[in-house]
């Protein structure tokens, strides 16, 4: 009757954990530089491929593979920030232009990966990491990948929280997130903090991609296929809340797996429609409650202020000035 359920819940937890790790990076980007980075999902692809390449040399060495994925993505994150986004942000363009630019960056990265993968014959690749069962409960195997993802999600959330609360760099980052101009005049080296932000955000995307790549086949379209799911997570989170991101990650994870399998099992809904549930979440939340489901103090209002400041065009609902 319900024999599919435990496995499905476990899979949901796994997927949710991946979403949490990857989306934390996007939330950070949104909070600090107010950039809805549509290229963020490409870090997932890159992380997956780094896993493929490095695991060919160091099979099963998760630490080395993970570190490599983190570092490569950090480097790429820094590069796209300095090549594409920083020149635009320095010109104080509207958020809409930044969105377009991030689409361009995403397309460039995606097809670079396509080209490379097609030359070396890795358009569809797997990582050389052994998957084995740790425990079996209710006929369901808890494999090392699942455990790794779940532990990683918890670890990364805690580390990020500690970093933001405890370290000087983290505090500066929060200051920039809540008021960019104030942070700058109060002597914070904004560009260095933003660089660190990109290192962490892109790195998290890379690690998430690498772990996801153990479970699934790595293709150049891996990132793009999860792009909207990741955005669903941060939109549920109200764009800038870290707690919200963790909750959102698991909501999307469960909606894609357990809820979908439930619908499939009892109502015969085709599993091909799987991505539609997060889509529905995106639309409903954007329309009804754009501040997300999780409470957030700075959240959207910061972005709104930023967008207004940066666009010399239309301004809506400006606060009174007299």
């Amino acid at each position: 009757m319900l024999e599919w359920l435990p496995g499905s819940i476990l899979l949901s937890l796994f997927q949710g954990s991946i979403y949490v790790v990857v989306s934390l990076g996007l939330t950070l980007t949104l909070a600090v530089v107010k950039l809805p980075n549509f290229a963020h999902a490409e870090f997932l692809t890159i992380g997956g491929y780094v896993g493929v390449v490095v695991s060919a040399v160091y099979p099963d060495n998760l630490l080395v593979i993970g570190a490599a994925a983190f570092l490569v993505c950090s480097a790429i994150g820094l590069a796209i920030h300095h090549i594409a986004f920083k020149p635009l942000m320095d010109r104080k363009v509207s958020i809409y232009i930044l969105v377009l630019a991030s689409f361009a960056v995403a397309q460039f990265i995606r097809y670079s990966v396509f080209s490379w993968a097609s030359v070396v014959g890795l358009l569809s690749a797997t990582q050389n990491i052994k998957v084995y069962s740790l425990v079996t409960l209710y006929n369901t195997e808890l494999t090392n990948v699942y455990a790794l993802a779940i532990v990683l999600a918890i670890l990364m959330s805690v580390l990020l929280e500690l970093f933001l609360k405890m370290t000087r760099m983290g505090k500066s980052m929060r200051a920039i997130a809540s008021n960019f101009d104030l942070a700058r005049v109060s002597g914070i080296n904004v560009s260095r903090v933003v660089d660190v932000m990109w290192i962490i955000a892109a790195g998290l995307g890379g690690i998430g991609g690498m772990v996801f790549g153990i479970y699934t086949t790595v293709t150049p379209a891996l990132g793009f296929s999860t792009l909207l799911d990741i955005f669903a997570v941060v939109i549920i989170a109200g764009l800038t809340s870290f707690t919200g991101t963790i909750i959102g990650g698991y909501i999307v994870g469960f909606s894609q797996t357990t809820v979908m399998e439930f619908l499939n099992y009892y109502f015969g809904v085709s599993l091909g429609y799987q991505p539609l549930l997060p889509f529905a979440l995106i639309i409903v939340i954007l329309l009804l409650k754009p501040t997300g489901l999780a409470p957030s103090s700075t959240g959207l209002s910061t972005i709104r202020k930023f967008a207004r400041r940066n666009s010399s065009g239309p301004r809506e609902g400006e606060p009174p000035k007299e």
């Binding site: 065009g313 609902g317 606060p319 009174p320 000035k321 007299e322």
Partner: protein, 255 residues
């Protein structure tokens, strides 16, 4: 001027988060009058205008009546259709368009504004020429006719104020809410602006409700003045009486 009110505001408020920008304001503006609204910075004047024109939503409670109609629930463009025009403190023009195009957008009910009439030039060209004549007259009066081909993002702040006024007047409104029409305008031109406001009132009976910081100019032309302080109306009187009242100085000095 008659004693009949054109605008009746009854107990409206607005808060932003915890801050009450406008608190229980009631006032009435007489038809055909020039009415001033003054007060120190941050006293809620622009917010009050935004509530009246519908650019911002008031808190529940209270009512706004314009020309005998309840308008609180109407969207801003409907209020404007009823004949309520407005200008903004920081000029809001269409930056991607020239001064002439800006002025030509303003008239209501243009035939060529319907998408399926637009391609048929003959249907709207006559009206267009009429409106253009009016626009030219208007712009000449406000001394901005030479700027017709300039983008509004390229002209000076004072010129923007004038262009905005010209936009608002193109519609033949019954009442105009002017938010600091002379800020950033040369002193001589400020006099002229008020002169044309007075003329407009005499010729067409337009009601003017004006926020202004240049009290010396304002007081020469207005019939009644409201003084606003900390979100409330604290005085309403003739300009001669207001200048003598020491509460005005207190409000401005922040005592």
């Amino acid at each position: 001027m008659t004693d009949e009110p054109i605008l009746l505001v009854n107990g409206i408020s607005k808060s932003f988060g915890g801050v009450k920008a406008v608190e229980g304001v009631s006032l009435s503006v007489k038809k055909g009058s020039i009415t001033g609204l003054i007060g120190p910075n941050g006293s809620g004047k622009s917010t009050l205008f935004n509530l009246i024109s519908g650019a911002e939503k008031k808190n529940p409670g209270g009512s706004i009546e314009f020309d005998g109609k309840q308008i609180d629930a109407l969207p801003p463009h409907k209020r404007s259709e009823l004949g309520m025009g407005r200008t903004f403190q920081t000029p809001r023009l269409f930056p991607g368009m020239t001064v002439l195009e800006n002025t030509m957008v303003a008239p209501r009910g243009q035939k060529g504004e319907r998408p399926f009439v637009a391609p048929l030039r003959r249907r709207w060209e006559g009206q267009e020429v009429e409106l253009a004549k009016k626009a030219k007259e208007q712009m000449t009066r406000l001394e901005i006719d030479k700027l017709y081909g300039k983008l509004t993002s390229e002209i000076s702040g004072g010129q923007m104020k004038l262009a905005q006024l010209s936009n608002a007047l193109m519609e033949d409104p019954k009442m105009l809410l002017l938010d600091e029409p002379t800020a950033g305008v040369a002193p001589r031109l400020a006099q002229d602006i008020f002169q044309s406001i007075t003329n407009e009132r005499h010729e067409r009976g337009t009601t003017f409700f004006i926020i202004e910081h240049r009290l010396e100019v304002l007081f020469k032309h207005v019939d009644t003045v409201f003084v606003m302080h900390q979100g409330r109306i604290i005085m309403e009187d003739k300009p001669e009486a207001i200048v003598k009242d020491k509460r005005l100085a207190e409000a401005y000095l922040g005592i």
